[in-house]
Subunit: 362 residues, 2 copies
């Protein structure tokens, strides 16, 4: 695998160029680029540059709107319903998260729900915006159906992620950003490409039976909720996926469940539902960050089962990845991804292309 190093700034401006080349407003392109770069920087390549072509295509085809801004449809001191006007997900996400934070400053909490949205990258990005204000942030989105409910054999729920960020002392934080499926589809695809089996509890076949054959998951089967089979508690992950759908599509009056368009098929508007929450710890007991730091220290400092793999807090793997990128002076990308995105840039007349001269040793 040949990888090359590209600085965050270069990736950022490249994505902006490609998006504005197809008519995206500059500040919308910036919002998208920021979320995607942050995805890569945190090590979630499946939600970064790797997906840029999808957003370019959505704007180019007109299935996603270029013009307008999100608008508040209904509002109270602590809540809002926002119409995302079919704009890029990060445009809707930033608008809603800022609104939630504003409301939390005044009322202690802001709970903002959006309809008419699109894919918004990593859910954690929006939750983490609250950290800048020393607040707890949450973000949820529904997604195209890929998950089979416990006992079922049809994909009727998305990977519906839950993201929760909470501030601790000295810039430390707890950042949970998880799909409510046992794993992401990309992980199953990767195992299939390598010819590996998958652990029991990742996915099921077309008959709803848990399988260790990734091919069966990808052809007619589906992902299973966190917890895997019914015996090991999969119905809990299924319930959490339903909870996320309740906060998103159901509260927002957006598409939901199997009514959402098929993954990667962009024949109709997505109309995703999303939910953004900010909670101000100042409205509760003093000393929040001290306790949060202690809570994480209790876990991190415990003697691990295996001396080589310390106990982590949510967000630590991403922190380690960001540190690595900082030390390298950029984000390592697979050369194939860079070439692919450069072809995409050429096809829309964007230049300059991504540089691919700083090759990394394998």
């Amino acid at each position: 695998m040949t990888r090359c190093l590209i600085t965050q700034l270069e990736v950022q401006s490249f994505i902006e160029r490609c998006m504005t080349a197809v008519g995206t407003k500059p500040h919308h392109a910036r919002s998208l680029a920021e979320v995607l770069v942050e995805g890569d920087n945190r090590g979630h390549y499946s939600h970064g540059l790797n997906r840029m072509d999808m957003y370019v295509k959505d704007i180019k085809s007109g299935i996603c709107a270029k013009d307008g801004e999100p608008v508040v449809v209904k509002e109270s001191v602590a809540t809002a319903l926002v119409d995302g006007k079919n704009l890029l997900g990060p445009v809707v996400g930033n608008y809603c998260m800022n609104l939630a934070i504003q409301k939390a400053k005044e009322a202690g909490i802001g709970w903002v729900v959006a309809r008419g949205s699109n894919h918004y990258g990593i859910a954690g990005y929006y939750a983490m915006q609250a950290l800048k204000e020393n607040m707890i942030g949450m973000s949820f989105t529904n997604t195209s159906p890929l998950v089979v409910p416990t006992r079922g054999k049809e994909c009727t729920l998305g990977t519906n992620p839950i993201a929760v960020a909470a501030p601790a002392n000295d810039g430390d934080s707890f950042v949970l950003d998880m799909a409510t499926s046992a794993v992401a589809l990309g992980k199953v695809e990767l195992h299939e490409r390598r010819g590996d089996t998958i652990p029991e509890g990742w996915g099921c076949d077309a008959q709803g039976k848990i399988t260790s054959n990734p091919k069966e998951v990808l052809s007619g089967g589906g992902l299973v909720p966190i917890g895997g089979s019914e015996a090991t508690g999969g119905y809990k992950g299924y319930g959490l996926g339903m909870m996320v759908e309740t906060f998103c599509g159901i509260l927002a009056g957006a598409q939901y469940s199997k009514h959402i368009r098929t993954w990667k098929v962009t024949d109709k508007v997505a109309n995703l539902g999303q939910c953004f929450v900010a909670i101000n710890p100042d409205n509760f007991a003093p000393g929040f960050c001290d306790r949060m730091s202690d809570l994480m220290a209790i876990q991190r400092e415990m003697e691990p089962a295996d001396a080589h793999t310390p106990v982590l807090a949510a967000g630590d793997p991403e922190r380690m990845n960001m540190k690595k990128c900082q030390e390298l002076g950029g984000i390592p990308y697979h050369v194939n991804v860079v070439n692919y995105m450069n072809e995409c840039a050429k096809s829309v007349g964007a230049s300059p292309l991504l540089p691919c001269d700083k090759l990394l040793p394998n």
Copy 2:
């Protein structure tokens, strides 16, 4: 297993008698009895009459307070911090949930956090109070450490439940009430008593290794988070347990994590942290209940993997249990439990005792 049938009313008044016999205020005793009877009625015997002796003991010993009422320490239009004054959990829970609902009527959402609380029975009970007002309800509590974080070997988190209730049409509802551990401790104890093994992914031994031997889980090991091992996504359940702790002990300034007293050891005040949320769908898109009904119908009406086990929505197993109780005309209890609780009643001078004349066929 010999079981006898007792009406909800008889159990309710029996628990009230036992609690007032040790000095509990009548309306506090009523609150407790209601939650416990609801636990049994819903089939969660581990959180019902079966635990009455624990509450009797807590009041009798004085480790849990008899006098006073919960008080609001800090408040905004949408939030409150409540001091539970070390009263019985259900007294604190009802107070906070009512407050959250009131705030949601005014501000669209109420987010209320309590410190100084005690065990409050099934978390779902409080979330479900919101259904009466056609609102979404949530409830979370921290609990004594029983769960080992992913990669660790020490119990530093409770089973920290998440409860979410959402109204649908015609009295139907979605009621998720789940521990963030793969299973409850009681399930492991039951398997141990029967001499059965447990599925991989329920618990670990004292070295933090996943085990199928329930004895190892109960002697120095612990429960593992939903998802089981790291490979099958246990770190997600671990993250959810931390999220619940953040909403409870950390926001409330109550005890948290391994600082909470050991399960069943009542040498010191519990000072649990709890969180109660009400969300008013009227503040968001019209038609919430229609969509909620459709979302559940999509799941329930799908062809199941096994024709004999239909796909359920969260809350359906409990609904089926309540229906069974209704048909029977009461709740079936194991005779040993009834005898044990009657001994408890005698020891505190409460009478009459529970009747055990309506025996059920095995």
